[in-house]
């Protein structure tokens, strides 16, 4: 039996990669709100790291809405939604979001990670199988794992592999096809319309996480369902409310019967304190802004993305194929990835490096999100810096 004093030795982190790169980019302490720049250790860094796609996290109208909600409801209702944490505001935002996404019903969780982890143990079990894109977000993988169902990962966005595997699933009770819409580290989009067609052909249930699609793709920012024109989606939809929606929380949308069931049987919802009033109010205001201003914000996002991508390509960087605002630099192994991130950080640019196990071995990525908040002069500064970088 292990001695108590040895227990904590198992949790000592190997900092070898960080030491070799002489840089630890994780847990930077931010001393400001999200503007074009953020302040770290008193210095300004251009924010190309956050998921603040539409630049609304620090918007005055959003902040005002959050303050008004605090004035009405206080900081928290200090209860789970099933108890006394389900406010009129909660109910209103849920309905408004569900309408915006275009589905029958929805329920807000404290985060999308909790939504994805709370969903699968309710809908899947030992007699079931989930085919999951091998690049899908960790929350989907962990959610599926925790359900105890059989897992068969499929090659990334590979419909032939998916169909070949679907043909082998006839012995299972329920078959799920699980994917992200916009892949968070690559910025590419799943062939979701085709995935839904395969779901129908093989009686599978499609589950999509639209965290990087909602408020980003589709003519009105409606996300993957609007982007693909899927008006009668019969599957299950999840999304983060902490990215383009610039607040926090997660949502699951779908058929009313399922959502009602989750409200009573999804532990991650039932036993978690409700999303707090300011976040709900913030989402409410952001949805109004998206409705009025998405076209303009989207134009700015796309324009920033094109300029930054061009500067990176001119400097010889190898980028993933992305038609979303995500720019992803292929940066090789973990040490190279951190070293490149350090170079950008030294030039006062904050980015997000992904190393194993977040991505596959030697397939490190530096993610840049070109948000709508970036002004022309900041973009010019960024592109100037990037063009002078030696790789």
């Amino acid at each position: 039996m292990m001695k108590f004093k040895d227990f904590y030795k198992d949790f000592e982190i190997n900092y070898d990669v960080v030491q070799r790169a002489s840089f630890n980019p994780y847990y930077p302490v931010i001393q400001s709100g999200l503007d074009e720049s953020v302040i770290i250790k008193g210095d300004k860094y251009i924010d190309l790291a956050s998921n603040n796609y539409l630049g609304l996290a620090n918007d005055l109208r959003v902040k005002k809405g959050c303050i008004e909600a605090i004035e009405k409801y206080g900081a928290s209702l200090c209860a789970t939604p099933i108890a006394s944490g389900y406010s009129e505001l909660y109910c209103h935002v849920e309905q408004k979001l569900t309408n915006f996404i275009g589905l029958e019903n929805g329920i807000i969780y404290p985060s999308c990670y909790q939504a994805n982890n709370g969903l699968f143990p309710v809908i899947a079990g030992k007699e079931d199988i989930a085919l999951i894109d091998r690049n899908a977000h960790s929350s989907l993988v962990e959610g599926v794992r925790s359900s105890g169902c059989k897992i068969w990962p499929f090659l990334h966005n590979n419909l032939d592999y998916l169909e070949k595997t679907l043909k082998k699933t006839t012995a299972y009770r329920r078959v799920f096809i699980v994917t992200e819409s916009v892949f968070s580290t690559e910025g590419n989009i799943a062939p979701f319309k085709e995935i839904v067609e395969l779901s129908e052909k093989y009686s599978a249930i499609p589950v999509v996480d639209d965290s990087h699609g909602l408020g980003v793709i589709g003519n009105n920012g409606g996300g993957i369902l609007e982007y693909t024109g899927l008006n009668e989606f019969q599957g299950i939809y999840t999304a983060s409310l902490g990215k383009s929606l610039a607040n926090s929380g997660g949502i699951i949308c779908g058929k009313k019967s399922l959502i009602d069931y989750l409200k009573y049987f999804s532990s991650h919802l039932v036993y978690s304190t409700s999303l707090n009033p300011p976040s709900l109010a913030g989402i409410n205001i952001v949805l109004d802004i998206i409705e009025r201003e998405f076209s303009e914000l989207n134009k700015k996002m796309r324009s920033s993305k094109i300029k930054i991508s061009k500067a990176l390509e001119d400097s010889g960087f190898d980028l993933t194929q992305s038609i979303t605002p995500i720019i992803s630099i292929k940066s090789g192994d973990s040490v190279n990835t951190l070293a490149l991130s350090k170079k950008l950080f030294t030039n006062k640019i904050l980015t997000t490096p992904f190393i194993h196990p977040s991505v596959q071995y030697n397939e490190g990525r530096i993610r840049i999100i070109a948000g709508a908040k970036l002004s022309d002069s900041t973009i010019a500064r960024v592109t100037d810096i990037l063009r002078k970088l030696n790789i």
């Binding site: 993988v141 897992i151 990962p153 090659l155 082998k168 194993h356 196990p357 596959q360 071995y361 030697n362």
Partner: protein
């Protein structure tokens, strides 16, 4: 003559498994028997799951979770497969 048949069958099995590893790991370079699945071929837990599912389905066998930790190289996978196939034959 019989030795040759066994040798050909062994080679066919190795070739088949290597092709499955290449597909599951999307690995396009040459694969050798002693290659480590994780360190050399870059397999992570999902890749391994994809590979094990493919092997189980193609050879109608069951590889238990506890056996996974022993499958470090391409050769380990093939040896495990031979044991499982042998058992199936005897059953």
């Amino acid at each position: 003559m019989r030795l040759n048949v066994i040798k050909i069958k062994k080679m066919e099995l190795e070739k088949k498994v290597i092709n499955m590893i290449k597909e599951s790991l999307e690995y396009n370079d040459e694969i050798n028997m002693n290659d480590n699945l994780v360190n050399k071929l870059g397999a992570d837990s999902l890749d391994m799951l994809m590979l094990i599912n493919t092997l189980e389905d193609s050879f109608s066998i069951r590889i238990e979770d506890e056996d996974l930790k022993d499958l470090k190289t391409v050769s380990d996978v093939i040896e495990e497969l031979k044991v499982k196939l042998g058992k199936n034959k005897n059953e």
